[in-house]
Symmetry: C2
């Protein structure tokens, strides 16, 4: 926030993130997945292969349980995810990716790869590898969840 010409690292990180998200959303809308929003995507992106608890999703996405629940409801109504009871805890419900969800994930992977390829073309292989390594290490101190 509030920088004139010297770009702080946080802000510099913002541009690629925004660009990637915009590309993903645009590609999805183009392929018929036009009933998905950025907030829904951010939640959905954290669902594990076997399903994830709502509370865990909320925690990782840094939103409240209520917000997560609301977004998951929408995703469920649109057919992207499904709720199943957690066999190990009768209170909990696992959120799992449904068929339509897998389809959109496959598309997202493609687009991610395409965009990263463009970035690599701009920066060069070595710089991109360094960038990824630095960001991964930075995550250790900027991501409270792993």
């Amino acid at each position: 926030m509030t920088e004139p010409d010297h770009q702080n690292l946080g802000l510099l990180c913002f541009y690629p993130h925004r660009a990637m998200e915009a590309r993903l959303l645009a590609a999805m809308a183009e392929e018929g997945f036009d009933d998905i929003t950025a907030a829904q995507g951010r939640i959905a992106a954290r669902i594990g292969p076997q399903g994830t608890r709502l509370t865990d999703l909320a925690e990782q996405a840094l939103v409240t349980k209520q917000t997560a629940g609301h977004l998951v409801d929408q995703l469920e109504r649109a057919g992207y995810v499904r709720h199943v009871p957690d066999p190990t805890d009768a209170r909990a419900r696992l959120v799992q990716i449904a068929e339509r969800g897998w389809a959109v994930i496959a598309l997202a992977r493609e687009v991610e790869a395409r965009v990263e390829a463009e970035w690599t073309a701009h920066l060069g292989e070595e710089t991109t590898a360094q960038l990824r390594a630095a960001l991964t290490r930075l995550r250790e101190v900027t991501d409270p969840y792993r």
Copy 2:
């Protein structure tokens, strides 16, 4: 969106950005600037030293003129910015930083420096410099506004 374990670059960029924004907001609230929100800050961050037109702010922040106008109104009511007529165009109004705005900007700079210092301590000087250089170059293809 939608990554399981291989972290795409866009998402990797998200963590530092979110961390920086959270730190800024927390520090501001602590120092008494508790009437500012993330969205307002994102707009305010793009105001130039001599003032900036609403339309330009909207364009750079990738929001509509209406959204920008709304946020600027709030910032004005809180005393962070002020509206002055643009001498070169009677239709336009320049948004300028007001006294209270300068105070919060000074604080933001301090916090940015502090957080970056922490990151540098974690990554090392050289890696941090490489990271900044890579992100700056990446901005050329991910930021439509310069």
